[in-house]
């Protein structure tokens, strides 16, 4: 039975230069007891649709046409009436549990406040109801935790509290906007299980907004695919994921890194690059050919790093061990993956390898030289040249005040001050070409580029010094899947042609499986195990690895 019906919904943003359609004639129906997944890349309008249902569109946007029918009520009839339905008939879960709770009120106060706003209950009744709710969402010791403040809960627990807040007025529709994006894999699966359980138990209609196809595959009954404000395809999850009709859906599905096998390249349906091999020839000529000897390029021995949060005394009582006795080697020419959840110390290791900070103890050897003990700047520069890094956030890794060509020129002129202008320009163009950007891009500023293009600029800058080791710290986690596939393809090609050694850091197991030859698993600063990729995925030895593999959302689960 159709419970929520969205008819021809359009949302416009009136901008200075043009009108942007965030959603255009969207028709969606949701039944009770069903989870509808709403997927799309950033800017596709999936959150806009979610917000439009409850009329939470920010200025200057507005719902320009269409209706939203809940049961048999048209809730968009007037803007006042919608207030009654928010929280009451419709519950909301937001992405970031850190900011969706008020930090100065206890969890209990927030629950009671919400309940009393919508239901006529006494304080005592409201309290009992809240405690039951907290129990229902899986918070142990709910009576005692009732009086705790949000900061006393972990991220996953907080998201449970947010869910209990959304449920406290017995809504019939639940809108969850990226409910697990800010959470680690292990917590993500718990929250998704909870949402699934509640949907069945309370016979809710749920709209699950997400960019993650794996989450959709594991939770949603039906899925709606959106692209730049339009609804591309809607149907049963299994049908859409296994047999997509539209081109866009096909490319979206093929961009998702498979979890069960290793593929050589991602298939990009929308545009296939045929000329790729030729592109990199120019830069290859500049690259001094190195023979690959099967030796260890990087050796890390008993690495420790502790962060002191005590400013005045330097005792180690308060220090946090970010990296705890980690040792591994990276062979020349291989891709080594480091995986772990947030706080596992993987970025810290990367930053020590590129010498952004010094380890507390332990050594890092690069090409059999201990780089952590180098004092002289000129010695250090030799290694700076050979180790480069690509960062996670493409928006903060480029200086917005410099033109792209100046950004790329910086490392070149620094390490080769005598280079002539013509040579410099040619080199910059070759680099831009090798990351598949046009020559004209050089004269633009970073803000004119999209996230994926910025990441390409970052790669070009890193390649400018002709490094041997490229440290990639979550290079694609800020990007959409289709862009991620392109960037991963690019990195693979570059590695193949330039004989790069790559240290690939990620929290995303499927991505690591596609990219790496060997993988190290980190947990709370300790290295759990290191093994060859296929071995790790097929027969993991460490308990933690098994747990991670079991919990990761699998798009393939749809086949079972």
């Amino acid at each position: 039975m159709t419970f929520l019906k969205i008819n021809n919904l359009s949302v416009d943003y009136q901008m200075r230069k043009e009108t942007v359609y965030a959603a255009k004639n969207v028709n969606i129906e949701v039944n009770k007891g069903e989870i509808l997944g709403l997927v799309g890349e950033s800017g596709s309008g999936k959150s806009t649709v979610g917000n439009a249902i409850i009329n939470l569109i920010d200025e200057p946007g507005k719902v320009s046409s269409g209706s939203v029918i809940l049961g048999d009520l048209n809730i968009h009839e007037n803007s006042e009436s919608i207030v009654k339905y928010r929280g009451n008939k419709i519950g909301l879960i937001f992405q970031d549990p850190q900011t969706s709770l008020n930090p100065i009120l206890t969890v209990g106060e927030q629950l009671i406040e919400t309940i009393q706003t919508h239901l006529k209950l006494s304080k005592e009744e409201a309290k009992n109801k809240s405690i039951n709710l907290l129990k229902e969402v899986g918070i142990k010791d709910a009576d005692a935790r009732f009086d705790n403040y949000p900061h006393q809960f972990s991220g996953g627990m907080r998201q449970r509290v947010v869910i209990s807040l959304a449920l406290c007025c017995e809504p019939e529709l639940l809108i969850a906007d990226e409910p697990t994006t800010a959470l680690d894999v292990s917590i993500q699966s718990q929250i998704l299980e909870l949402i699934k359980k509640l949907t069945k138990k309370r016979n809710l209609a749920v709209i699950l907004i997400t960019h993650d196809m794996g989450v959709i595959a594991e939770t949603a009954d039906r899925v709606a695919v959106m692209k730049s404000g339009n609804l591309v395809e809607i149907g049963e999850t299994k049908k859409i994921l296994t047999n997509p009709q539209e081109n866009y859906t096909k490319s979206l599905v093929s961009s998702v890194p498979p979890t069960n096998k290793k593929i050589s390249r991602f298939v990009i349906v929308e545009k296939e690059h045929n000329k790729k091999k030729e592109n990199n020839i120019k830069i290859l000529n500049r690259w001094s050919k190195k023979e690959i000897i099967s030796q260890d390029l990087v050796q890390i021995k008993n690495l420790n790093k502790s962060f002191d949060d005590n400013f005045f005394t330097e005792n180690s009582k308060n220090s946090v061990m970010a990296v705890n006795d980690v040792s591994f080697e990276i062979k020349e020419g291989e891709s080594f993956g480091l995986v772990g959840e947030s706080g596992s110390g993987k970025s810290t290791i990367a930053k020590m390898i590129v010498n952004l900070f010094k380890p507390t103890s332990g050594d890092i050897f690069f090409d059999n030289v201990c780089i952590t003990k180098i004092k002289q700047r000129s010695e250090l520069m030799k290694f700076r040249k050979q180790i480069q890094m690509i960062f996670q956030d493409p928006y903060s890794s480029l200086n917005g005040r410099l033109k792209v060509k100046d950004i790329i020129a910086e490392p070149i002129t620094l390490h080769n001050p005598s280079i002539s202008n013509i040579d410099l320009n040619n080199y910059i163009y070759d680099l831009l070409e090798s990351v598949e950007l046009t020559q004209k891009s050089g004269d633009r500023y970073p803000h004119e580029f999209s996230g994926g293009q910025r990441q390409r600029i970052s790669i070009a800058r890193a390649l400018a010094t002709q490094p041997r080791l490229l440290v990639c710290d979550e290079p694609t986690s800020a990007l959409d899947v289709s862009i991620q596939a392109q960037i991963l393809n690019l990195l693979k090609d570059l590695q193949e042609q330039l004989n790069l050694t790559i240290l690939f850091i990620s929290h995303d197991l499927p991505v690591v499986r596609q990219m790496c030859d060997r993988i190290g698993v980190l947990k709370e600063g300790k290295l759990c195990e290191v093994s060859i990729t296929e071995d790790l995925f097929l027969k993991p030895t460490h308990e933690y690895t098994k747990e991670l593999l079991r919990l990761m959302p699998k798009i393939e689960s749809i086949y079972n």
């Binding site: 250090l380 700076r384 004269d443």
Partner: protein
């Protein structure tokens, strides 16, 4: 190949396309205040071209013209629009000459404190540690001393050190130093805070990994990125510096009466206020108010426009 957009914009097209330009032409406050400021700046710096009189050329003055009221009053003369002072100098010309001195002192003082404040704030934020602690405690101490007292103190010391003959010549430099030294802490604080944010961004790490030296990172990468907030408070600081100059000159410790600034003119006119010659003090005062008010309005608009958090 990734296509972005085929045409490359010229600098002027970029400016015309920017949000700042659009916010400017949509804000009447910004247009009015910048027009007023443009007229004031132009008339002050090209005062020789604008006015027919040179109030500092004694041969052109006639005591017969002294105390002529403004032209629209009963005894006024058409050739002295705002009247004359006790020595027969045309008020309007004198004000414009005085305004030039005020602006020169104000601008120089603010540039001096910008260089000092941003330099200290940037290095403090970047290097951190004990150096940062010392600099920031210095600014705290500086902030406990009212800026006008600080300026009086500097002026007093300078008077003690410099001989009487040299004093009139040196007065303007002492004044610039005195005002500049009392305004740098706010620039240091703002630029340190902004540096702390910027230096943890990945583009700074990227430059470090490439091997760029700290000095270049500070000036090529961080400095341009922290200039926005600094420029905003710099604009409001300019109004404060001009007012501080006028206050000091009014108190008689600023520029000497031979090269009067707006503050000096107000002080000189003050003596005549109760004998009925109100225009001698009134016009410089109202001119000063308009000048400071326009700068502040422009500064407010800049703050609203350049701060992304306040954008609607």
């Amino acid at each position: 190949m990734q296509q972005v957009d085929n045409k490359t914009l010229s600098t002027w097209e970029r400016v015309k396309d920017s949000d700042i330009y659009h916010s400017f032409i949509k804000s009447p406050t910004a247009i009015v205040s910048s027009t007023i400021l443009f007229i004031i700046f132009f008339c002050s710096f090209f005062v020789e071209l604008v006015t027919p009189y040179n109030p500092f050329d004694p041969s052109s003055l006639s005591l017969m013209d002294a105390f002529t009221p403004p032209s629209w009053t009963e005894d006024g003369l058409a050739k002295f629009i705002l009247g004359t002072d006790g020595q027969g100098r045309d008020m309007l010309s004198t004000i414009l000459y005085g305004c030039r001195i005020s602006l020169i002192v104000g601008f120089s003082a603010i540039i001096f404190s910008l260089i000092l404040g941003v330099g200290l704030g940037l290095t403090a934020g970047f290097f951190g540690g004990k150096y940062e602690m010392i600099v920031m405690r210095l600014t705290d101490v500086q902030l406990t001393v009212p800026s006008i007292l600080m300026a009086l103190l500097v002026d007093g010391i300078a008077r003690g050190l410099i001989s009487r003959e040299m004093h009139d010549e040196m007065a303007i430099y002492v004044l610039i130093f005195a005002i500049g030294i009392s305004e740098w802490p706010q620039f240091a604080r703002v630029s340190r805070a902004a540096t702390l944010v910027e230096k943890n961004k990945d583009y700074v790490s990227a430059s470090t990994i490439i091997g760029v030296s700290n000095i270049i990172i500070m000036f090529k990468h961080i400095l341009p990125n922290i200039l926005r907030p600094v420029l905003v408070i710099g604009t409001i600081g300019l109004a404060l510096a001009i007012l501080a100059e006028s206050t000091l000159s009014f108190l008689g410790v600023g520029v000497p009466p031979t090269t009067p600034s707006l503050g000096t003119l107000i002080r000189l006119g003050n003596d005549f206020l109760f004998s009925g010659e109100w225009w001698i003090t009134f016009f410089p005062a109202i001119f000063l108010v308009i000048l400071a008010f326009s700068i502040n309005l422009l500064g407010d608009w800049m703050r609203d426009t350049l701060n992304p958090k306040l954008k609607k």
